[in-house]
Every structure is written in structure tokens, then in C-alpha cells.
Symmetry: C2
């Protein structure tokens, strides 16, 4: 983290200097951000094929992947509502509440790592988490595989998706198929049009907000293709927000690395679609984007943003709301006599 | 009910006689059943327009119609899994269990009335039930309307759907839009192709099953366009099944009419898509369709169906599994500062 912090502080200075003299906002922005690619990004060790995307979509929407038969990936990462669930923290198995706000699945393939603390290296590893978490889907790998094997259509789809494998129905491949589908969930936005050369894609307020976003230092952490999501930073770098927003019991990445430097350190939130994915922060305690921007200004930058500055930054963030590719809702295979029965029992 | 029962007994005899001498299975079937219409059926007092269908689809998939923000209509009537949730009884607000198995929404527009006891005259009336039920979505009409009014896109959609109304955002119109969408959810099946003249649409086993279905008397209750869903009959007409399948505490339509004749009377289940909508009966206690068929034979007809008879009837029922029209998953309006906050609190 020491390196990241050094980058943060030096790059705040650099950005301030560079944009102050920049004649071209777009050129400056291109040094800090990148537009979405025009094709589905490749992911490590998981070739993406149409068959695998289709299988992954079915799995993503299948509530039978949870012990209760109630929750699918889409329950908390709902593609109808910005790829998240718009709750403080998700409600899962047994009506239990999750520990942190569910991040959006949209564009998540571009994050450096997954979860607020980056504990999963990639989307395949991430996909295995909530399925097994007792407060989320409360299932087991064995029961997922038994469920999939009980439906011949699923077995066929796994063979089509992993054609070189003799026994492709596995928990690993379940996760890889979901990763392949999620990699397709990218949402080109007006900001991409701007970066790609359409100067009129942003309004005057949005351009002013973009300039502030870079000048004030927000872009030191929220940069790159996902406007965040690429590195870890302490929440409360300059001033810790109150315990309601930053609960003392959740020490963030410290739980992953167990190094003191990572106390209350979280992955900088990727800001694409942030305008449609309230509430904010890992605690999900802030519902108003402008308030969230002002808290960030104070706690991370020591900046007391004025009303109009915060409004312009919020306007810029609105230009990150993108268009999701049309999703045809899947028709899932029907259960058979061999399908394990759902149970809402709380263990 | 007396009339219905008289019809039941007389028509069993009539069907047995007629099919015994019928030279043409299809002609006989057409006297008892009807194929799905080729267009969206009209519903009472609710003109169906493209705008209203789109609005209804959004509402159908919107989890913010529940108090908790967790459940949408689609949670229990999931279009990915046969229009139901494949649970004994649904799990709802506060992890509470519903009292009866959730029926499929597919083709439900053709049912005589809605719910297992027919307590809602139509789909619009039905749609108002689960939204308010404490064990389901636990919301109130006022909160639904406040939620809808907080999102300008929804307000615009209501105006487009009810163009003659000055203040169209109402709980009544919410229900009407959902009804309009649900009326589009009809699923043409091989059995329709057969009724429409394609003799090869059914296999030999399916044809034998259809003949048995009429000869044995199943079609006395399960007839018409929905192969059921058109009238009410006592469960256990000849012999009451065990309390596990027919719980003594649930007296069915008696709770609606409070007449002794309606004790343990339920709407005959519509059988379209029955093969993909286990578990069975209002109790949801039977997972195997063949077992369900044999229980019906005994309890309703006093028929001890042989293994091969039950297999053939199950084969026929498989010909009722239809094709759902492609559903493009909606992109829902984003919340605003005025949107009521979700709460999982149990009252």
C-alpha cells in the first residue's frame, strides 16, 4: 500500500498541475482514463465462446444454484437495476444481511480484483464466494454439481462449453462460465463517446465536473477504464468519516493481508454506472451521490467541495451511466427426479 | 358446486362413451380442449397496448415493488423456470413461507379466476394480492405508488399506458399493466399443433396418454384451453389423500364462499407446462408428476392407474410444455432521492 499511497499523493499534485495548463480536456482525460474496448475482453485461462457465454447466462439467472432455490447471482447483481440490488447490504439465505454493499457486476471484468477487499483475484474466483456464503446462497460445491448433473440440458451445455473435457460439470467450470458471461456485461457510456472523440457527448457541466474530478484529485484513485477498481486505498486517508459510514468492525483489506498498512483499506470503487447504483460505500449507508462525493472530498482529499463543485462532479459521474447489452431472459432446464430439493433451512 | 359435480360425473361417463367409439382422436379432443389463440387475448376492461405491455413487464420484474426490495412478481413466477418458483410454497418477506404452492403465470390469463381458491376474479385483482401479503412482498398500495411516482421514467410510462388519465400512477393501473403483460405470456405447445391439425405433433405414447386422459375422466375437470383452471372441484372426491398432500387446515374455496359444499374445494389445476412446474398440488408436497397423476386417479376418479397408463398420461402432459415468447430483460428506472427506502423489517 505504501506505493499506492505515494502514487496517490504524487499524482494528485501531477494532475492538478497538468490540467491547470491543459488546453484540451479530452487529451488530459485520456492520460488518466481509457474508454471501454469495443469487444468482449479476454480473461485469464478462460477462453470465451458463445456456448460458454450462454451457459454462464443460464447459471447467472438460475435460483437453483442457491440452497433455498430463492437466490440467483442476478438477485443481488440485478441486470435490471444497474447490476446491483440497491440495498444497503444484500438480504440472503434465512433473511440474513450480508456484511457489505453488493457491487455492480457491470464492467466488473475490468477491476483489478473482486470484492471490496480484493480477496478474489478474478470473476471466476468471485463467483464461488456468494454461492457458498451462509448469509447469501448457502450452497455447497457438491450440491451445485449434483444439481447441474441432474438436468441433462445443463450437462449438454457444459460439454459444449468445455469440449475438451471428459467430465466438464464441475464447480470450477461453473465459475468459469459465469465469468465468461459477466465479461460480456460492459456498458458503453457518454464518457466513452467523449474519450473516443465526440466532444459533444458531455454537457458543459459534465465537462466542468470531469475537470474538477481530475483537478481535485478524485482521479488519483478513480482512474483507468473503470474509473476506479484498480487499486486499494485507505478509507479516511485525510479524515476518517463517522462510524455509521465506516463501521469500526470492518477493517477492509486488513482481513485479507493481515498487514497493518491495510487497516480500513478498500478497493477504490469503480464508478461506471455509479449514478444508478446507490446506496454508496462498502457500508451502503449513503444514498445520495452528492453527499457521497462530498464525504470522499473531505475524507480522502481534505477538500471541502462547494455545492456547485459537487453538483458538477455528480453531473460528470452521470456520464458514466452506460447501456447494457440487451439480455434475453434465459429459459432454464427443468428439474428432474434427481435434482436435490431446495431447502430454506438455516444451518 | 353442485352443478360442477354433476357435470363432473356425467361428463366422465360421456367422455368414456364417446372416445370408446371415436375414430378420430383429434376430433374427440377438440370437443374437450381448445388450442391457444394465435394472438394476445383481450381482457375485461383493460385494453392491451404495446406501451402497457412494456410497463407491465417492468413492474413484473421490479423488486422495488416489495417492501424489502428483494422480491418481484418474477421471484415466485419466474419466467426462466416455467413461470413458477419450483418450491413447495414460496419463501417471502422475512423468510416466511407462503400458504400454498405458487401457480405458474404462464397462460394464467385463460383461467376462470386466479389463486387456488379462485378468490381473485382476474389477473389485475390477483396482482394486488402478493404485493400486500405480509409473507410475500409485504408492501402497501401507498408505498407502491410513492415508489413509482419517485421515478420520472415510470410516471412517463404510466402516462403512455393510460393516455386518457390525468393522474395515471395508481395501484389499480399498476395491477392493470401487470395483467396486460401477463396476458402475453402464452406458450404454444405440441398439443396445440396437434389440435390445429398436425397429427404428428404427438408421439404414439402421447396420443395413448391423451386417450387415457379423456377415457379415465381426467378431462372432466382438466379441459378447455388451459386443460384445467376453468372450474372448482373437491380434492378427494372419491377418496381423500393423506394429510401430507391435503393438509386439514387448508379448506380451500370454503374460505372464500363459506359454504359447506366448498369444503376442500380447489380450482382444477391448469395443466399447461405441468411437466416443468413441480412440485404439485396446492400443498406442493408431491415432486413426481407420475405420482401426482396416480394420486389424482385414486382420489378424484377411484381409478388405480397402472404403471404404463400413468406413464402414458405423463407423456401426454409433456406435450403441454410450450414455448414462452422471448423476454428481453427490462432495464428499470433508477431510484431518486424521493424513492422510499427498502426495509426488510418484519412487522
Amino acid at each position: 500500500m505504501t506505493l499506492a499511497r505515494a502514487f496517490l499523493l504524487s499524482s494528485v499534485a501531477a494532475l492538478t498541475a497538468s490540467t491547470a495548463f491543459a488546453s484540451d480536456l479530452r487529451d488530459t482525460a485520456l492520460e488518466v482514463f481509457a474508454p471501454l474496448p469495443s469487444t468482449v475482453p479476454a480473461v485469464n485461462d478462460n477462453p470465451i465462446t458463445p456456448a460458454k457465454i450462454d451457459l454462464g447466462k443460464a447459471l447467472f439467472f438460475d435460483p437453483r444454484m442457491s440452497a433455498s432455490g430463492v437466490f440467483s447471482c442476478n438477485s443481488c447483481h440485478n441486470l435490471a437495476t444497474g447490476g446491483d440490488d440497491n440495498l444497503e447490504t444484500s438480504i440472503g439465505h434465512g433473511w440474513q444481511k450480508g456484511p457489505r454493499n453488493a457491487p455492480t457486476v457491470l464492467n466488473s471484468v475490468f477491476n483489478e480484483a473482486q470484492f471490496w477487499d480484493g480477496r478474489a483475484a478474478d470473476l471466476a474466483e468471485q463467483a464461488k464466494g456468494p454461492v457458498q456464503a451462509g448469509v447469501e446462497m448457502a450452497n455447497t460445491p457438491d450440491n451445485v454439481v449434483a444439481t447441474l448433473n441432474s438436468m441433462p440440458q445443463y450437462v449438454e451445455w457444459f460439454h459444449a462449453s468445455f469440449p475438451d473435457q471428459a467430465d466438464p460439470v464441475s464447480f470450477d467450470n461453473f465459475a468459469k462460465a459465469i465469468e465468461a458471461y459477466e465479461a460480456t456485461l460492459t456498458t458503453p457510456a457518454p464518457f466513452d463517446s467523449f474519450l473516443n472523440g465526440d466532444e459533444d457527448a458531455l454537457s458543459a457541466d459534465q465537462k466542468a465536473g470531469l475537470e474538477l474530478f481530475m483537478d481535485k484529485g478524485c482521479a488519483a484513485c478513480h482512474n483507468g477504464v473503470n474509473v476506479g477498481g484498480h487499486d486499494y486505498y485507505p478509507f479516511g486517508l485525510i479524515e476518517k468519516p463517522g462510524a455509521e459510514v465506516l463501521p469500526v468492525g470492518d477493517r477492509g483489506r486488513f482481513a485479507v493481508t493481515e498487514t497493518a498498512d491495510d487497516d480500513y483499506v478498500f478497493r477504490a470503487a469503480p464508478l461506471r454506472n455509479t449514478a444508478i447504483t446507490a446506496p454508496y460505500f462498502h457500508s451502503g449507508k449513503v444514498w445520495d451521490l452528492k453527499v457521497a462525493v462530498q464525504i470522499m472530498g473531505e475524507s480522502q482529499l481534505g477538500e471541502d467541495l462547494s455545492d456547485s463543485e459537487a453538483d458538477q462532479i455528480v453531473a460528470f459521474l452521470g456520464s458514466l451511466t452506460g447501456t447494457i447489452p440487451p439480455v434475453v431472459y434465459p429459459v432454464l432446464p427443468a428439474e428432474t427426479a434427481a435434482t436435490p430439493r431446495p431447502t430454506g433451512e438455516i444451518k
